[in-house]
Symmetry: C2
Subunit: 142 residues, 2 copies
């Protein structure tokens, strides 16, 4: 897995919070909606969720569930949008977005909306702390 | 499971092709992009993928894989968009959309675009025939 690298566009748009066994955990730098992106590590060349071997898919799904718990615990989140899209960034990645009828772009999709405000540094640290309470999460240096 | 019914908005927008063990298989009536929707049956009250028990999630994921094979086999499909959204229709459902840089709304998402043209009846029958070749699929009457 020496050649794996997170896509530069994801690095630009997000903050790397850390990783689970299968996937890297990124926070989209958009304070308008809680928005986590999982990038599975052992998937060089895979662009589709359905390209992955079944056991890797299931491990990734388990990590989606873990991230969903953190996102759903955020104030005002009433709905999740979970998606593997990739029209813009071909590297396989899964979005877990917490939505609310009171958020900055409801009911439009976040991918079809202008970016919301960026996070304060303290808020990013708080996100990392929240994930650090999840079993199997290893925090990155910020 | 006597109270389960597919959401009226999905019935309005789609054609019911049949079902797998876990989920009903709908074809979005949009000839602009191959677009399948899976609606899991045994999920009354569930609105999120992550609300489902792990074994149901995995069964649904297996059926997403089966649908993805059919969608990817369509001419010109180069990319899948797989998503559980639900901002408009709260009933849990999973989209499997085949995309191509030459399709009617690339690179915009289908959910953020005007509908494409509707299918001819013969094309809908062909879709049902394609799924009828998949193990575990039971075709609906059209």
């Amino acid at each position: 897995m020496t050649d794996f690298a997170i896509h530069p566009q994801l690095i630009k748009d997000c903050v790397l919070l850390g990783r689970f066994a299968c996937s890297h955990v990124l926070l989209m730098n958009n304070a308008g909606a809680p928005w986590i992106i999982l990038v599975p590590q052992n998937t060089i060349g895979a662009t589709e969720l359905t390209d992955l071997p079944r056991d890797t898919q299931q491990q990734l799904l388990d990590e989606v569930n873990l991230a969903a718990v953190v996102v759903k615990a955020q104030p005002s989140v009433e709905k999740l949008n979970i998606a593997a899209l990739g029209n813009m960034v071909p590297q396989l990645h899964v979005h877990i977005v917490g939505r609310s009828p009171s958020d900055y772009c409801w009911p439009k999709l976040v991918w079809a909306s202008d970016p919301g405000p960026r996070y304060e540094d303290a808020a990013i640290l708080l996100w990392r702390d929240l994930f650090s309470q999840v079993d199997g999460f290893s925090a990155a240096s910020l």
